[in-house]
Symmetry: C2
Subunit: 576 residues, 2 copies
């Protein structure tokens, strides 16, 4: 069995100290909860991940899910692991206790998400989707839908899926052709084919609830005519057509499903009619954050394996390879992205809590706007840089990293999906530039920038962070300048937005990582000066990695800013 390695110290420092998740206990929703209780959840989830989930990960890859008698058969141990995970209530942690949940913060649920993903990416697909489906039902479901499904989703007795994509409708959701015909009893009969449905069939649980995006009869074309439907798999006209052969996550069956081939696929409308996109986006935003977190989770596991190997492997006599500066540089690069992105993902999860449960509407609205910007960045930059981390981990292992004696090649294959599903990273970049930046005339970005600037100003009060904060602030200013230039140009010609989208997202991602690492360096400096017995190396590491990022990685943001500001339009030339 391959060990699952994760830096729980960094997780705890981030959640409990840097982000101070305990602040949530001042909100009515979380009143009476304690940080000790949260710490116990982290400890128990980490133990489960290291023991039960890590145990099935390699087998999941080598054996994979396969089709037997028209049903998906999962590799041995997956059903049992799913049961254990749900016995601990880990799928529905942040659902209300009224709905079978534990009523804990989403920030804590996000930590559990990392642990499940890092230990077994394939199983985590079930965890993630079942969680998101339950959350959509909690918000939009009718009383009957909640009663019939929430407790079963929360206990893991049924799993959930999102059914958007069709063979001809991928990124362009508006092209969906699946139809829903209203019946006299208020239900709908669905008909259509969906592809790329993660967990579309399996035997980890006894039933599946599909959330299906379809067009109700008589509704118009495009995304505005789409509604969301809850479609139970059991005793219904839903057929598994096939599963994909994929690069990785072999134990996460990616299914093609045929709904209503016999005209008998029954579903119920979920949320208001023709508001399917809004309901789906509620789910999709959370799913996008979780996909970005896969970069942290799997990249983080790869980093820990590479670090351990570098400390133990000798080359050239008794020199351990960690002593070579180029190897140290590689490890510091990995550390910067894993820890920086981890802090950002957990902060985003904390913002979900504030958006949903803060009594002050202005606070809720402000954090919702932050999340709107952060979500596409974390989805795309998190998955891309997490993948980069797995690549670097393989380099540390050398040739051995390419073999299946080491888990890194599986991490790499499993993680690659994250840049593709829930909207490719190109789609994320266009969402950021189009919907989140240009559409509100840069107002959301300005507010988020002001927040970053204020945080840097505060960090600058600590001597360890002051010179770093100044440099990050300068880059942030240059980014703002390029963003203004882009906004002016894009008003005249929309192609500018598409040309600049990818470097725009990357630059913002790099700056966000820099800000949070500098903020953490300031925090670590304060703690060190207060005397942090026994944690000196841990805390000093937070300062050093911020220095490393600002001098060695942040320069990449300036390159991307130059790309955004460039007047070049050669990509549009008719030469391809």
């Amino acid at each position: 069995m391959v060990e699952y390695k994760v830096d729980v110290d960094d997780i705890e420092l981030t959640l409990f100290e840097l982000l101070d998740v305990g602040q949530l206990q001042a909100l009515p929703r979380f009143a009476g909860q304690t940080v000790e209780e949260y710490r116990a959840v982290v400890r128990e989830a980490a133990a489960l991940a290291r023991r039960d989930l890590a145990a099935i990960n390699e087998r999941g890859d080598r054996v994979g899910a396969h089709v037997q008698d028209g049903r998906v058969k999962m590799p041995e141990g997956f059903r049992e692991a799913w049961r254990k995970l749900n016995e601990m209530g880990l799928t529905a942690m942040d659902l209300s206790p009224d709905h079978g949940g534990l009523g804990l913060p989403s920030a804590l649920a996000a930590v559990v998400g990392e642990l499940v993903m890092g230990a077994c990416p394939s199983l985590s697909a079930f965890h993630l989707l079942t969680h998101e489906v339950a959350r959509v039902l909690e918000v939009f479901g009718s009383e009957a839908q909640r009663r019939d499904h929430l407790a079963r989703l929360a206990s893991g007795a049924e799993t959930g899926t999102m059914c958007l994509t069709e063979p001809h409708a991928g990124s362009a959701v508006g092209d969906i052709r699946t139809s829903a015909s209203p019946q006299p009893d208020g239900t709908y009969l669905l008909r259509g084919t969906k592809i790329f449905i993660s967990g579309g069939d399996s035997d980890v649980a006894d039933d599946i609830l599909h959330l299906v995006l379809a067009r109700a009869e008589g509704d118009g074309p495009g995304t505005a005519g789409l509604s969301l439907f809850a479609v139970p798999a059991r005793d219904n006209d839903v057929r598994l057509v096939s599963i994909e052969r994929k690069m990785g996550i072999h134990a996460s069956p990616t299914c093609q499903l045929a709904f209503g081939e016999q005209g008998k696929c029954r579903g119920t409308l979920l949320g208001p009619r023709s508001q399917g996109m809004r309901c789906m986006f509620h789910m999709m935003n959370a799913a996008r954050l979780a996909v970005g977190q896969q970069g942290v989770a799997i990249g983080g596991a790869a980093y820990e394996h590479a670090l351990a190997y570098a400390k133990e492997r000798t080359q050239g006599g008794s020199t351990r390879i960690i002593e070579y500066p180029d190897v140290r540089r590689t490890l510091m690069t990995m550390k910067a992205y894993v820890e920086g992105l981890r802090a950002l993902v957990l902060e985003a999860a904390l913002f979900v809590d504030l958006t949903e449960h803060h009594p002050d509407a202005a606070v809720r609205e402000a954090h919702e706007a932050y999340l709107g910007l952060m979500t596409p960045v974390l989805k795309a930059y998190g998955s891309d840089m997490g993948f980069k981390v797995t690549e670097l981990a393989m380099q540390v292992f050398g040739g051995a990293g390419y073999t299946q004696d080491v888990p890194v090649e599986q991490y790499m294959r499993d993680l690659k999906a994250a840049s593709l599903y829930e909207g490719t990273n190109g789609i994320q970049a266009m969402d950021l530039v189009g919907r989140k930046f240009l559409r509100n005339r840069g107002e959301h970005l300005n507010r988020y920038r002001a927040k970053l600037a204020a945080s840097l100003e505060q960090a600058a009060r600590e001597p360890e962070a002051a010179p770093l904060a100044g440099k990050v602030h300068d880059v942030l200013q240059r980014f703002a300048g390029a963003a203004r230039t882009l906004a002016e140009r894009a008003g005249g010609d929309g192609a500018w937005a598409g040309l600049a989208a990818t470097p725009f997202l990357r630059a913002l991602g790099e700056i966000m990582v820099a800000e949070v690492l500098v903020r953490r360096a300031a925090f670590a400096g304060r703690r060190l000066r207060a005397g942090a017995a026994g944690r000196e190396k841990l805390l000093q590491g937070k300062i050093e990695v911020a220095r490393f990022h600002v001098s060695q990685l942040l320069p990449g943001a300036d390159a991307d800013i130059a790309r955004v500001a460039s007047e070049d339009r050669s990509a549009l030339a008719d030469v391809l």
Copy 2:
């Protein structure tokens, strides 16, 4: 069968026009040859690659090589494909006709190398290694060794291997323990274990010639005590221990071999005793160029597939995805790296011809020095950027790219090995900075820089290239400044070299790509103005992609220059 797609027009334009390979016909070695003859070789090799090699590529991945009765059994079709390839003389093209070769330029052999690699990376490992082993024998072999093996290698009747790595000796070759004991008849008895031996056993041919790095009895420690031995596999005490389970190139068996378990493994000294590293490096330099070329070959195939898909796939009604600016940007990025690196790899191969066959010693020596610098850059930057291209290709395909319905995920897995074998890319960076830059006090780099600067100056005479050439020249100047800073610091403390090695290599790689694209843009501009009937789009594409690179990709070099010049040493802090 998955189609192999390659841009033969770009290859021909590069080889015959931009690099003017016909110039070689002025050298005695190539006298009497014609460009028409060369063109015929390219056409025939491309046809073979598209037909016979592409046909076995997917099966090679899915079935893989496996061990049966202690021997490696290759997937169906590999032996036949190997035979066809050798019937055309494609393995020994640039060997002297005296030794069974065709006496053609290495630059032409490199084109064939790309076609074989792109169509079937696993088979190309046999092609590459057999070619390199034959070339080492041609230079260093005794008359008997040449007589016994050269014709057989050239005809493909035997394949070749390089046996360096041992379980405890990877990057640190000096730690090798395999021993060679001299016998009264002049042969040696070898004893030791070698790992990661590509093609260490197979049934594509009837015999294998292993080149084994070992320490002759009585010779000293470290690399200086190593000698190279020719060890035939047949009727010898060489046992296949196992093959690796790997991420990709499943039909390139990576073997662990035990030499002399029964004390009866006979070999003969190849080249002078204790000069094993020098002989091996002769081979390894060529192999490193070929590994860098895998980035061009496999990345190039991925690019062509993505381009074709983008032109055909619609999203959002009838919009083809190639019309989206972000997709065009992605495709232009791929085009820039594939075409730029292809031109550099072929230029390096041309320099091999000049180094080996030019009558003027000064010319030979100058090109050898260029090659010394270019080799680690092309190995590392070629494999890394080629891999990046496969990643981008997958993004163009979206979710479909992650499935095995599309060849891209196999390309990605197959290509990943290139950043690891023949010395990891970190080792290449240290080779560049240590051996190729600092050791000769920057003299080789200065000469190479002067060559780049002269080329840019010439390109600046064409209106299309002039503004681009100026920008590249400025970056080159800044790179030179950072290099000087590094040299000064590294004199005092060697750690600076290791800290800066990776960004140093990347910056130089990016500048080299920029220079060759700008040189080509100048050429294309001249041709266009001279009236290039029917080739307008092809030639205009060369100008646009140079513009794209200089404005959109070259800024990355400045980020790397900032990293090299940075005074930051946080990676050395004791916090990992």
